[in-house]
Symmetry: C2
Subunit: 451 residues, 2 copies
């Protein structure tokens, strides 16, 4: 697969260099739009602009644009004149157009909406009013629905006429007021007599969401019930749109990336900035400065134990391992809890058991690591009591770290903050502090033995 | 949504407590099997057994079992006699049965395969022979395909007879030797004259994978081309199975969880162990011990600079912040690269640019953090040169850490190891070591000024 893309990329570049535009146009008309979108990732801005302008069919331009990742898409749009953008956006399903407009600078978005015809821009502005991460924000409004009093014959005819609707998975059935009342599969239509009324064969128990349902919840439902699409209704059960499984795949990938980035104290927003180092640094810095502050506190606490440290200098050689291991164990527990929350495997009902499990795991691992490091300390500095102090501190620090790894994300979830940000970085700083306190506290307690 | 489940759970528990089994049976027959599976998560083993035995329709039992997460499923199977398990497994699609058999203890799996009828077990053993993470390992073998010389009329009739095939998205077309030669959509059948031959309307360019294609690659293709199913062929292009989008959703969730766990030095395997602390500790320990060793090396290096340290004790107060920040920055870069590899956003072609971007970002953030910590050091210990040393060391350590965060996962990918394990923990230990070397190296160089 990758070879095929390398070949395509090399060919495209060669043709651009040579200025062989008619050839390029022909090549572009032969390959899958998704592959064209993939090519764009490797091209520089100039090459992208040339290639994009050579796509003849505006429908394909629209497809390519909607498949580009957000940063590439935003960069590309800056290169193209407004009329072309508008034309391409009008070719797209409204939800994809809205997605692209959301990622434009505000001014450009306003201009574009002004250029568009009234009809389109009203529809788009309506969609823009939904929260970006809600079912309303990701739904497609081009739905194919049937009235409950239609016959199967009429339904099949309606289906044959409906050319624009690309992916028909389920046939949603509505009453005269456009309220969602049932669902049918395409195959059902084929297996009953043509005069049957839809309301007699439809399934009335339709899994649905409302426009303000969170997109993560939408993804959960689609995954849990193994369905291909989920209808979106407003508060009065009017059918407003549909979220299809391909949107759900994008949501899941996006949410996983978001969580992973947040766990490392970064933000998926930086993907919008491409290679702009200053903007990216500014996104990551606030959180690093918080950790810097935490690090200073850890240092300050060590400094408070200066007297102990000056008497037994050997203590310093275990500072990195004590703080490091606490951070690692806490990070593991936090990761498991954060991911458990995200996938729904852990919730407030099972949390208690998870807490005690992590506590036990932390204690077991602490005992193993504590004995090891205790022996190392004993033989290295020829002092069994130093071994005892280091070992004890390690067991305690690791057990505390594991429980902190459960408590911190839980606390964040309870106060309504995304638990992902409470993962490794936060937990690590917290554990640096408790680790140092435990270590030097233990050492000070056993000071007489150590001397 | 969650309220509904709480209510269901409370009702189920109350009925179990009262022994009101007929009521319970009736309740179970009314709710969606996916919701029954969800209930199991909150029940203890005894309750699970009672509930499972009360499901009357073996098809629903099969559905519930295939929807349980692996650890719950494995626990439940230990409670149920072999004949029931076999009966339920025979109700399932082969690929789901294989999934469950893979997660059984080996002995039990062998017994079950022995009890099964020849036909089923041959098919299942065939599927078991594929790698668990390949297209062959996740594909469903119950495919509905049509011969290219059929007419549309015949195709529709075949479709009406095929009752078992639940989700027909695309109609795959084969030649007389079962080679995959084309694809059709259901809607296409409805919009052409009944006598048309399939080969005249089918699309010949079918996106397909082979049985040994990695499941992650399968997921990429489904996501990239927005398709609902992908056919799986053997090396001679014979149609062997089909991977549907609901399997892909599971794969994506699984792969994301796997990556997230690996990044924290844990393994998603521990989800199989539920609350068994010792087994979980054993899974996480090897990697912790590696880090323990790294921590001892860091300590040893510090110890080598004992002379410097004894002369300027204040140096010790910045050890945690230097190692901590290096670890954080390196972890961020590593996370971005690992996730980039996983989603296909970063590959060897764009890596160079990513490396220099991360280097620049690391340097910018290092300059900000370095100046801050330099000022802190100066005013805290009233020594401008100490400030200079700490600040310089911070800038260097953070820049090196950022580049290490790109290089480590790249190196692991090149040698064929999953880059996810190279993320935060590995990078953090590596950065602890370089951070300490840079810090004490700088301090020793400027020793005259510091005294």
């Amino acid at each position: 697969m990758e070879q095929k893309h390398q070949l395509l990329l090399d060919t495209a570049r060669r043709l651009i260099r040579r200025g062989a535009y008619p050839h390029l146009s022909k090549l572009l008309s032969k390959i899958h739009p998704a592959d064209i979108a993939h090519l764009f990732r490797y091209l520089d801005l100039k090459e992208q602009r040339i290639l994009f302008n050579l796509i003849e069919d505006p429908e394909i331009s629209a497809y390519v644009l909607s498949e580009l990742d957000h940063s590439t898409g935003a960069q590309l749009l800056e290169q193209i004149d407004r009329e072309t953008i508008t034309e391409v956006l009008q070719e797209m399903p409204y939800d994809d157009a809205v997605d692209i407009i959301r990622n434009m600078p505000d001014e450009l978005a306003e201009e574009i909406l002004n250029i568009m015809q009234d009809e389109d821009s009203t529809e788009i502005e309506q969609l823009l009013s939904y929260d970006e991460d809600s079912a309303g924000g990701i739904m497609s409004t081009e739905i194919f629905s049937l009235r409950e009093d239609m016959s199967v014959q009429e339904a099949i005819e309606a289906l044959q006429r409906a050319e624009d609707v690309e992916m028909v998975f389920y046939l949603y059935v509505t009453d005269e007021y456009n309220h969602l009342v049932g669902v049918l599969s395409l195959r059902q239509l084929l297996t009953v007599p043509p005069q049957t009324q839809l309301k007699d064969i439809m399934t009335r128990d339709v899994i649905r969401v409302t426009t303000d349902t969170d997109q993560e919840e939408v993804a959960h439902l689609v995954a849990r019930y193994n369905i291909l699409a989920i209808p979106v209704v407003d508060e009065s059960n009017k059918l407003m749109g549909i979220v299809t499984v391909d949107d759900v795949i994008d949501v899941m990938r996006e949410e996983a990336t978001e969580d992973i980035f947040k766990m490392a104290g970064a933000s998926e927003e930086e993907l919008l900035y491409g290679f702009k180092s200053f903007k990216i640094a500014r996104l990551r810095l606030p959180w690093l400065l918080v950790n810097l502050f935490g690090g200073v506190i850890t240092g300050y606490l060590m400094w408070m134990f200066k007297a102990t440290l000056e008497q037994i200098v050997a203590l310093v050689s275990f500072v990195p391992v004590i703080t490091g291991m606490g951070g690692n164990v806490g990070g593991q527990s936090a990761t498991i809890v954060v991911r458990g929350f995200a996938t729904g495997r852990i919730d407030m009902g099972t949390l208690r058991r998870v807490f005690f499990k992590e506590l036990r795991v932390g204690f077991i691992m602490g005992t193993v690591c504590g004995s090891t490091i205790g022996l190392v300390a004993w033989f290295w500095h020829h002092n069994p009591y130093l071994g005892l102090v280091v070992g004890l501190a390690m067991v305690t620090a690791m057990t505390v770290a594991a429980s902190m790894g459960v408590l911190a994300p839980t606390f964040f979830k309870k106060i309504g903050v995304d638990p992902a940000i409470a993962s490794s970085p936060f937990v690590q700083t917290a554990n640096d502090i408790t680790g140092i306190l435990i270590y030097f506290g233990t050492a000070t307690m056993f000071l007489q033995l150590l001397l």
